[in-house]
Symmetry: C2
Subunit: 408 residues, 2 copies
Amino acid sequence: MNYRFANRMLGMQTSPLRENAKKNMEESEVISFAYGFPPTEAFPMETLQEISQKIYTEVDPQLLLQYGATEGYPVLRELIKERLATINHIENDEEVMVVSGSTQAMDVAVKVLCNEGDIVLCEEMTFSGAVNAIRGYGAVPQAVPMKIEEESIDLEVLEEMLRMDIHHRIKMLYLIPTFQNPLGTSIPLEKRQAIYDIAQKYDVVIFEDDPYGDLLYEGDPIPKIKEMDTDGRVIYAGSFSKILAPSTRLGFVMAPDELLEKLILAKQVSDSHSNFYWQVMLAEFMQHYNFEAHVDFLKALYKENLTAMMDGLDRLPSEKISYIKPTGGYFICCKLTDTIDMKKFYQYLEEDKVVVIPGNIMSVKGAGYDHYIRLNFTKPTVEEIITGIERLGKAVDKADMKEIYRAS
Amino acid sequence: MNYRFANRMLGMQTSPLRENAKKNMEESEVISFAYGFPPTEAFPMETLQEISQKIYTEVDPQLLLQYGATEGYPVLRELIKERLATINHIENDEEVMVVSGSTQAMDVAVKVLCNEGDIVLCEEMTFSGAVNAIRGYGAVPQAVPMKIEEESIDLEVLEEMLRMDIHHRIKMLYLIPTFQNPLGTSIPLEKRQAIYDIAQKYDVVIFEDDPYGDLLYEGDPIPKIKEMDTDGRVIYAGSFSKILAPSTRLGFVMAPDELLEKLILAKQVSDSHSNFYWQVMLAEFMQHYNFEAHVDFLKALYKENLTAMMDGLDRLPSEKISYIKPTGGYFICCKLTDTIDMKKFYQYLEEDKVVVIPGNIMSVKGAGYDHYIRLNFTKPTVEEIITGIERLGKAVDKADMKEIYRAS
């Protein structure tokens, strides 16, 4: 038969994750800076094995294996709220819902807030899963230009876009304010406050996606936009993919009651509830084992990797390849100089078996960022980072048209 | 702030599951025939504990805990295909995707096939989660009248609805052909073939939802509509909620390649992939332990419950309460005679601490089935079934206006 697919499917693209999750399972000599994956050492195998052994004898099977409440395991929800208060200084009367990764938080938020044709503002370069979620309900992702050097979006343009939106088609502003994907940058405090004030002035919801927020390696944390939320306009989403394990699909979303009720309903339709066995596992980990020590271990591990990658990049000529130093998270985003032939650059990288994510893949428009590349520093080892960045430097040199011109 | 919710949210209702999943966790003297839950004995605790102990030492953590492919663990997908071939006689070239319960299969199917305003035909009484999934994309569930005595939908009306649909707004026919929820009935073979032929004639997709299909207690299985699918118009969805554990959220969907590709993309946006730890657990169970013996154990367990419930119902006056004997599944649906005051009936049931699901909750229109009740026979014990059905009989007697009239 001839399938007639819904219009919304036309706008959605397969994200690189899928294909490459498969590749990841295969053996390979490739040095990959491509995907936002944790390394094997990041998984707390012994603790998980220990909890998994006691869980079958000590926990009621009706809790562990039965259908559960859509909003999640009450004990875990409470632990998440306590952690938000103590670690992130987010203290309020709002409740959290457990979701299947923060990806699902965005999916249900769009479902609940956007009619077809409505607009969601995004950073120009952002997480492609969020862009797909927006398109998945026939809504339109619209890029707010960035001021990358200032680690922010352009606030004047943001305000202008909202001021011009006389028919109130803009329903949400999607941001990854902390250790942004792909940029690795963090919006400074005063700009966060300014963004919140603009959102308030034009009455728009902010979706603060914060999957990397726990992974701070240097300096003081910047307050979350959610911390400034005086009138319940910020949906705050967190994830355990980066601090427990991605495969378990556990994240959470915090929102005011009226909004959370609708998010719960939307999630119920989508998958009833998130895996309860893992909700119990995580609650046990947080209650009876030292979960924060595990997070500290990850921070030390990744800080070493980040340092190695920055050291390597700093050895390359800064007029050819530049980047903004992240203080946390998963990624460094590099800008290559305009004289570099990107087609040749990727060709040399491939020959040298190094993989990176091209900037345009992370661009809402799919264009405009062809001289940017995203590098992940959590999955590779320090040795791979050193070798890989050296090879990257060679590819930069070889693909620079200015060098080729000089040599000829 | 004032939230402006998307229009699609207006049509969605909280399903009874959510509230009652919570109640289920509380202790209670109530005899519940309400929810489609397995009992504690249904969970293969020893086997799961055994697998969970070896899994951390024998399985690659990168498979167990890392991000995985959206379509699922290849080994599990192959095992599901083999099981479909040997147990359900569904043998074809199509692939399966692992989903987070068969609820998600319907969610992504609607996402992929329905624009706003499109129609999905459903049995008049059906699973409310599917109805919510349809409304969740702004599509419209439309009830096909049933011929309950014939255990089918009205084929003449079905054909008339499709014939009248000159603008091709009807995109899908959603059916639970085997051990229907809430009716417990199964569409006979010749009617399945007739439904398929009509779908073919009017070029519409069939969604065959089969979460109960494995639980056959008596007689021969009826071939699935998917078995008749010569031109790739049947999306077939199965679930492990009823034969492993609901909390794990594992189901699957089978569809032709072109359609499955889109379903995979839709699922990727929703939750990236289903819990991989449990995909590995289930694959281990199916490969190295006797999974079919476990299914047989469940069938014996539930057959005993079904027999007890039918015995109890058969002791009640058939002119007041009648039902069609199921040969499998989770539910019996009873029709109470018109002279019963349903308000009084539910009041007496509540006094006697028995809970059932009112027919109208399972009705697409939310009306027309007020004298029907759905009874689950898998969760209560045989003792609870005997006592509960006796109490149900008393409530029927006491709420019958004819009796009250006679007595006065």
